[in-house]
């Protein structure tokens, strides 16, 4: 489904990785592993199309994502280090706005349902900056229950989550993969059993 060919990434005149190729097919969870500074985030950002690689292409269903970005973006869900929520708006406002921008039709009841699953009931009207780091992460993660996307690219999604949150997220990833979706994720802790089967992609730190 998603294929990367011969990607090379240079940051600050240092080659992070060179000629990296990977392929993910429907129903696969890819766990990108590597030490700090190996270029995990850069790789994921290239896969989303946010940054352009020094050389190489990313293909989605055989088409270059640089050429057919709209069809790819409509089925892509990317969560980065930054949560993408404005601190002075409430969780509910943030999510509503995000859904509108991504042109996702969503009933109010679905929205509340997602907030309930992620454990934010009672906090939906509080400005996001008053929430704890873990709760803020949960607001960002609520999108996984809202946008019907096939490709999930999640950069360090477990950061700041408690044990329960991690289990919830791993379960969500597993069910998404079982439904034929694709998940590409990074994490410093190894994925547990709850995330289901997954393949591992190793990035080395280069000098």
């Amino acid at each position: 489904m998603l294929k990367a060919c011969e990607l090379t990434c240079v940051k600050r005149d240092r080659v992070l990785f060179e000629n990296v190729s990977l392929a993910v097919s429907a129903g696969e969870l890819l766990y990108v592993r590597g030490p700090n500074g190996a270029g995990k985030t850069s790789l994921l950002r290239i896969l989303t199309g946010l940054s352009t690689p020094e050389s190489g292409t990313v293909l989605f269903n055989g088409e270059d994502i640089a050429d057919s970005s709209l069809s790819y973006l409509s089925t892509l869900l990317y969560l980065g280090h930054k949560s993408g929520t404005n601190g002075s708006l409430s969780a509910l406002d943030n999510l509503r706005f995000w859904l509108a921008q991504h042109q996702v039709k969503c009933e109010e009841s679905q929205l509340f349902d997602a907030l309930m699953r992620i454990g934010l009931v009672g906090l939906e009207d509080v400005p996001v900056r008053f929430l704890s780091a873990g709760q803020q992460r949960r607001v960002a993660l609520a999108r996984l229950w809202l946008k019907p996307a096939d490709v999930w690219i999640l950069d360090e999604p477990f950061t700041a989550l408690d044990v329960k949150g991690i289990a919830l997220l791993e379960g969500r990833m597993k069910s998404h993969v079982e439904r034929g979706g694709v998940v590409i994720t990074t994490s410093h802790q190894p994925l547990s059993e709850a995330a289901g089967e997954h393949s591992v992609f190793d990035l080395e730190y280069r000098f």
Binding site: G87, A100, H102
Partner: protein
């Protein structure tokens, strides 16, 4: 279209939640203008002569302070990434954000302008000319400024750099705007100056959104 309306509403909403950030540049403007009678001379003639220049310089300086917040929050909290991935046109979003920035930071300045004109002993004709130049010139400040803000938004200390980049670019506007007010003081027609400012504004309107989108992408990379 309603997508961009959504961005507009959200940005206005957020701007009004951060009133302090909107008011501080205005207070700065007021205080800079106050320094001139104290530092140069309180004589009405002198003030009238330097008034247009003082007002415009103060307006440019205070707008430089307010400029940074145009993309800063969205960039730092990751909203910008999500904009890029939403498939909306980044140039369109930039245009909306510039528009909001102009509304929330320059309209209050226009409201404050009668007071400043009074402080600097401008005549009524001069004030009308000043208002006209501000109406045409401040959107230009926002549009051009946004390009530089887009370029420096990823940097930790962009504040002084932003001024360094923008002040030389704003000089023609300063020249034409102050000369329009000067002409009004002499009861001369000042349409040519206004027409030139309007021409610059139209040029910026046509090109700047794309330049802003490009610079935001560069910062995102």
């Amino acid at each position: 279209m309603s997508l961009y309306q959504g961005v507009f509403k959200r940005d206005v909403h957020i701007a009004f939640k951060q009133k302090a950030e909107l008011l501080q540049p205005l207070m700065f403007l007021l205080m800079v203008v106050t320094m001139f009678p104290l530092g140069v001379s309180p004589s009405p003639d002198t003030l009238q002569r330097i008034g247009p220049g003082v007002l415009w310089i103060a307006a440019i300086l205070s707008s430089l302070m307010a400029m940074e917040r145009m993309f800063r929050d969205d960039f730092q909290d990751g909203t910008m990434e999500q904009y890029v991935l939403s498939g909306m046109s980044l140039a369109g979003i930039s245009a909306v954000k510039v528009c909001v920035h102009w509304l929330v930071s320059f309209i209050p300045m226009l409201v404050l302008s009668p007071l400043l004109a009074m402080f600097l002993n401008l005549t009524f004709d001069m004030y009308v000319a000043l208002l006209a130049t501000l109406f045409l010139g401040t959107p230009l400040l926002s549009l051009i400024g946004a390009i530089a803000v887009g370029l420096t938004v990823g940097l930790q200390k962009g504040g002084v750099l932003l001024a360094l980049l923008l002040i030389p670019v704003f000089i023609p506007l300063l020249i034409f705007a102050t000369s329009a007010v000067d002409s009004a003081a002499l009861q001369l027609p000042y349409y040519p100056q206004l027409a030139i400012i309007a021409a610059m504004l139209l040029l910026a309107l046509a090109i700047a959104p794309f330049a802003i989108a490009y610079s935001l992408r560069v910062s995102q990379n």
